[in-house]
Amino acid sequence: MTNNNDGDEPLDPASMLALAQKQQKSVSSQRGSFVAIIMAGYGVALLAGFLTLRFVAGPVAWWVFIALFAAAIALSITLGVRGARGIRSSDSFTGTAYGISWSLAMAGLGALGGGLIIQGLDNHLLLLFYSCVYTFLIGLQYFMAGVIWRSVPSLIVGGWLVVVAAVAPYLGFPNHYLLLGIGGGGAFILLAIVTASRNRSLQLSASKGLTTNG
């Protein structure tokens, strides 16, 4: 299907302004169509993963948690690469530095926990520490992504995760997993639903404007 608004002839000023706005909405919604799926993937991984850790005993719970997160990461990489196809940037500094900050912070927290083990930290406290600080880190990174790329949904979900992670230790082990799973995973799933419906309404509004003008 090709569009009807391809010609040389202009429309009246109101229709031309509407056409420009609808076109920008259409491009933004098409470029961001995969974001909701990535958020849903992380939401399910957090919700199901932490609830498994809470209610299933033994190492199998950790394998389930790791498998869910690996699947969510694989999904986000696949869709992210697909979404970025045909786009190149001469300024890759911000994206590269942000990517490095994830690896650096993840490795740094892993080493920090290792130091605590050496200093004799109790196993339950260690599990409490790791689950909360990594959730805290994800929240902070999402918040920073919102700052860098001016995304209000990222600011909200990032800020919320920071609060959830900061409050969770007060519930004690293993009930903190409930808050991390429901509060953290639930926030991602809610944001995925809001993003998907917002994207859908953008698409509808854009396609309506682009097929009726001219």
Binding site: T2, P13, Q23, Q24
Partner: protein
């Protein structure tokens, strides 16, 4: 409507300029991706792009990915400013 930029004041070229204006400065879109996003025929897109390039609004860069030639398109600073001036002029006309 004399004050409206005649290069942008055409439906096809307005759609292209509006689409490219959503990119961050320094970002470029490949021709096939832009065509997909605009749902426009290759011939129509090429014709409009030539006029935008002649006006100095769009950069057209030929590159290779492996052995495949690929054309990247982006707005120049002049083009971005022209698009903003054009939409401001429309808003001014509409009061």
């Amino acid at each position: 409507m004399d004050e409206l930029d005649p290069v942008i004041h055409a439906q096809g070229r307005l759609r292209i300029t509006a689409a490219l204006a959503t990119l961050e400065p320094g970002e470029e879109l490949s021709f096939p991706r832009l065509q997909e996003l605009l749902d426009m025929t290759a011939g129509n897109l090429s014709t409009h792009l030539r006029k935008l390039e002649d006006a100095g609004y769009v950069t057209v860069t030929k590159a290779h990915e492996g052995r495949t030639p690929i054309t990247y398109l982006g707005l120049t600073r002049t083009g971005r400013r022209a698009f903003e001036d054009y939409t401001d002029a429309l808003k001014g006309l509409l009061g």
